[in-house]
Amino acid sequence: MAAALQLDRVSKTYGVTAGSQLRAVDNVTLTINDGERVALIGASGSGKSTLIRIASGLVLADKGAPGTGMVRSFGVSVQQGGRLSREVRRARRHIGLVFQQFALSGRLTVLTNVLVGALGRMNAFRGTLGLFNADERRTAYAALAEVGIQAHAAKRARELSGGQQQRVAIARALVQGAKLVLADEPIASLDPKSAKRVMDTLVTMSRDHGIALVVSLHQVDYATAYFDRVIAMDAGRVVFDGPASQINAAFLTELYGASAEELILPSQFAVGASVPAETPVTQTVS
């Protein structure tokens, strides 16, 4: 089975014309295996978001040297050498995306937002006209039940709280039948309680359906509590890729120096510390 996600020598430079260039992602090569759960950590501006956007083809990597800049998911090419692949839509069908700001259509109903996940598999004509059939509606409703918000199915998405909207986005990935979910700072704009609920939902979904999961996080405590493998980024480069057990405050300080403060907030550590004891999810992880 091909890897869930494969990045080969991927770089992204912003502001090429101006005097100052920003290397947001610098020659990153990594592989995420099928069913694997990985936390992507790093301070703001370290390149996490850009990396996830490159992985889904929302951002084009630099053209680079021949043979570099390759992104594949389950053997299907997303992009290569700074160009979107012809099969990118096929690749995207099994990549679920979860964004920091939810990226839902606020005026559409919750159910419709989830049904959008089915578009990739539907006949394009039917999908464009919004003619979802009974099976698709049932699947979407079941996905909403799975993330615990079926009661809000008929509401407009924007009427929901941030945490609920994020779970709608997760339900959309479920309806999509995603085999890989990329979540870009999914809990960064949520209160601690909603954040925990969303992380539980993501990890449960990954475990129950065997979905590979890559979550970029600010809060290291969540990374260590929910994930086996942690990838740490700094200035666009992968500076650590290994078991979560190796990550602690001292190690992060060594890795990031002064900027480690952004990652280790004492109050958030308290939240994370209580997580393993409460949730069966993390017990299986650790």
């Binding site: 889904s56 929302l58 839509r89 096929r90 690749a91 995207r92 069908r93 990549i95 679920g96 995306l97 964004f99 700001q101 939810f102 990226a103 839902l104 259509s105 606020g106 005026r107 559409l108 419709t112 959008v116 996940g117 578009l119 990739g120 394009a124 999908g127 464009t128 919004g130 986005a169 959309r172 999509q176």
Partner: protein
Amino acid sequence: MSVSHAARRTAADLATMPAPPVTPLVTRLTRLALGAIVIAVLVAAWYEAEMNPAQLVRDAGNMATLGADFLRPDFTDWDVYFDAMLETLAIAIWGTVLAVIVGIPFGILSAENVVPHWVAFPIRRVMDACRAINELVFALIFIAAVGLGPFAGVLALFIHTTGVVAKLFSEAVEAIDPAPVEGIRGTGGTWLQEIIYGVLPQVMPLWISYALYRFESNVRSATVLGIVGGGGIGMTFNETMRGFLYSQAAAILIIVVLTVSLLDMVSQKVRKRFI
């Protein structure tokens, strides 16, 4: 207080104080020249426009007749006017509906955030042309093409309004939040699906509001179109004026004002619900 304080200063005091900056001669001459140019333009335009206020006084008799007749509106033929008003409304309705139908694709295709520049640019220029030419001019063109009557009016409003709504619609599209669109793209949706599920829900309230607003102004324009032969109440009004039937013309104007005000009120109420 500071004035009286300054007034008490002696000439010797003043001599020791720094002189305020003087406006340079060049600046003063430039201002003078600009003033002269403005006056010259005003004078030239006065003669070009054959402005002659004395005419109002010299032909006071005409004015009096006109005013007296207008003060006695004659509603004898109200059913004729009513029919003509309906025709004007019909012109505005179809002119607007066709413009909205065509304006939606053109509006989307001229929004730079959803289509590449080489698509948006030419479409924008075509829309500019539609907008640049007044509906009256289009009416004259279509009267030559399809003959006198309301259909020419519909076509004139249609073309001009398409240019207007396409611009308004595309500006709404350019102001959207890109995140929901990326959400759709991420699921493997097509470009059209991105528009339908990501863009349209965001712009719909504005679009409806703009379309209704254009309908209001098209009712006003449709009235004028009749005067050049585009059908409707304008045509009836023109006939009464040419026949010096000022009392009837006054009745028509009253009907127009009432209808337009009523529609504005209703449309404003409806628009507010969508914002």
